[in-house]
Each structure stands twice: as C-alpha cells, then as structure tokens.
C-alpha cells in the first residue's frame, strides 16, 4: 500500500495549503519543499520586521544579524512544521526570532542588560498612531488590552516579554520586592486574558 506511505508524506503539505488567507503562506509550502528562491522572497518580505525584533531585544546590530541568520536557517529547516491554522507566517517567524534573540540575551548572563526600568519607560514600544492603525486585528486588540493595565504592570510585562528575564532580575531592576513584582505580573496576566476574551 504505497498510497498509505504517500499519504503520510503529503499530510504536511496539505496542512499547509488548507485555509490560508495569509499571503506568505504559499511561500512556506515552497520552502518546505526546499525552494531557496521562496526563502529569498520570504526574507525580502520579512527581514526588516524580524531584524527590528532582534534589535529590540539585543540592542546590538552585530548580534541581531547573527540571530537573524539563525532564524532564517531555522525557518528553512522547519518550514514543514508551520501550521496556518495556528498562526500567521509573520507571527510564527517573529516568535522564532524572539526566542532565538532571548536565548542569545540569556547567554550573556542573568543581569546583562542591567539598566533600571523606569516605571513609565514604555514609550519605545507604544505604537504611534500610524502603526496602531496599520496593526491588524490581534495586534491592535493586544495593544488595547495592555493599555488598560496600569503603566507599571505594562512595563514589567513588556520587559519580561522582550528580555525573557526572571522575576528575580525584574524585581532587582524595579527595586521592588519579589512578591510584589510577581503579584503585579500575575494580576496583569489575568486581566489581560479577561480583556482579550471580552
């Protein structure tokens, strides 16, 4: 029953094709099949976005470029794992970029980026009006819900997300007791979920 074997092999590509309004999704099918030109097209379409993410996390161009390279090589190897039912291509590859950049940041040491967080230092992640208009559905909703949290909670959630640092490191940088930081974040996450589900 060769067809059974063949079926197992095509499940992957079928999963990629089904239900996709994402304009980048067809590229992922081609990348999964080993088409380098498709990877190049994906790079042209997304590298500035991903480099922005790497740079935001690492604050170092050279390291951010190293990570960017790793990210596209990872995408090349793992394109067949992409599931359009779960995330858009942009979200999927941005998440890979974030994880890789955070791994790199953690490798520097637990308090590598030790500038204190100002309570209200959140300006660089506040999208300007234009970005906010352009940001589609999910992003706008998340921004809206984050904006409902008090600024200090927003700041710790964003810092944790973009630096992947522990509660201990956060507490040290906020100059606040560990338990307090934990409760800010835990309450913040619960509220965030409540808001997103409204």
């Amino acid at each position: 029953m060769l067809w059974a074997w063949a079926l197992a092999q095509i499940t992957v590509s079928r999963r990629l094709i089904v239900l996709s309004s994402d304009i980048l999704a067809p590229l992922m099918v081609r990348i999964a099949a080993g088409d380098r030109l498709a990877l190049r097209e994906l790079y042209e379409a997304t590298s500035a976005k991903l480099f922005g993410v790497c740079l935001r996390i690492l604050s170092d161009r050279e390291e951010a470029e190293d990570v960017l390279q790793e990210v596209y090589v990872t995408v090349w190897r793992r394109a067949d794992r992409f599931d359009p039912a779960r995330a858009s291509v942009t979200t999927w590859i941005s998440t890979i970029a974030r994880n890789r950049a955070i791994d790199r940041l953690r490798a520097r040491g637990p308090l590598a980026k030790a500038d204190p967080i100002e309570d209200f230092e959140i300006a660089d992640d506040q999208p300007d009006a234009e970005t906010r208009l352009a940001a589609a559905g999910d992003a706008a909703r998340l921004q809206g819900c984050l904006a409902e949290l008090d600024p200090r909670t927003q700041a710790v959630i964003r810092t944790a997300f973009f630096e992947g640092i522990t509660y201990e490191a956060l507490a040290q940088r906020m100059g606040a007791p560990l338990g307090t930081v934990k409760s800010w974040i835990r309450r913040g996450l619960a509220r965030l979920k409540g808001c997103l589900e409204r």
Partner: protein, 246 residues
Amino acid sequence: MSAGPDLSELETLAAEHALGLLGANARAEAEARAARDPAFAALVDAWRQRLAPMLEAVEPVAPAAGVWGRIERALPANDNAAIRRRLRFWRGATAGALGLAAASLAVAVMLAARPPVTLQPPAPAPILNASLMSQADGAQPMFVAAYDPARRALIVTSLVKADSLRKPGGDAAHVHELWIIPADGKPHALGMIEPGKSKAMPMPKDMAPMFAPGSAIAVSLEPPGGSPTKTAPSGPITAMGMLDKI
C-alpha cells in the same frame, strides 16, 4: 476595568513560561512538562499566541545587505525537505518512470565521460551514518544508524526510552519498524527495533546497493509484528534521517 478571574496555578505557570519569566531550571521543567502533558502544552501555546502580537508593534529595521548571503551559505545542502521532495516525486508513477529514465541516462553519460583509470587496490567503502530525527520536534535524534559495507550490516541504536511503547505491565502496544528509502523513494522494510536497544542487522546482497549516501532511513510506528502491508509503513513516521559519510 474589571479585574478578571485569577488564573489557575497551571495556567499561571504556562503564562509565565510563555512570557519568558522562568529561570533556566524551571524553564527546562516546563519544557519537559509540555512534552508529556498536552493540556499544559495547549495552555502555553495559547499564551504564546496571546502575547505574540506584541512583536507586531516593533519598528522594522533593515538589516545590512550582506546578511542574505550569509544565510544562503549557511543553508544545509540536503535535509529532510529534500527527502520529502523525492518521496513526493515518487508518488506519481509517471514521474517515477521519467525519473528512472533520466537517472539511467545520467549514468550512461557519466560512464561515457569517465576518464580511463589506472589500476589501484579498491579503497574500503566508507561506513555510512544517519541520525534519525524526531518528526514531532525535529530537534531530537531518536535513533542512530550506521551501515558498514564491509560487513554488509546496518547497526541501529534506539535512543527511545525502554518500555515507552509498552502498556503499563503489559505487552508492547506498538513497535518501531525500520525502513530504507533509496533514491527512488520506494520504502523497503528492514525489521523492528526495540526501544532502548541496539542491534546489527545483516543485509541480503540485493539490498546492499540501497545503502548509499542520500538514502533515507525512517522509522514508523506499527502494530505488533510490523506493517500489515509489508511493503510500506501503515503508521505515522516517527523519525527520519539520511545516510551520509562521516
């Protein structure tokens, strides 16, 4: 604003893991838990999806012009995608026939173009190796295989936890069956490999040519006794890798 209900302890852990708050040890524990507990994995996944849109608000910055060249040079020449491509190729009988015709033409051209060689004692054929990566996460080798042409034997080691296919206290519910997929993409059964065990499998003469660089070795999950069809896997492909010289 409304406070929203508190998150359960498990969901709090999932959200903290997705946010990146856990230290190295706790993170490793959470990864391990996600691997064995689908409910926890689903919570982590849901939180990753909730938080990911934060990335969309980040300002794009163009990377230096040379980065693409570095990426292109770093791409592996051959990988699982290439094997799948070959397998898809084999699916259409016509395409397969065309491929065989093209391959034999290529061999004929190569033979015709081969320069005369001076007689030398034949070098011993090199041992071929393959790491069979998990098809679930791609990052973990689940089996390693080595083919020794001198002994005409395939040595396979299962890195899967012993008893992992066994019902608690009972018989094996499934078995791991090995397959070789040579360049034509057609699978051939090689036998079973028990979890955690290592074994040497002598190969009949007619199968030896299948063990060449670029042939894939795959493991499928099968009912006890192996694939009922005997000619192709009936269950999911657990792991796959390609034979190559060291």
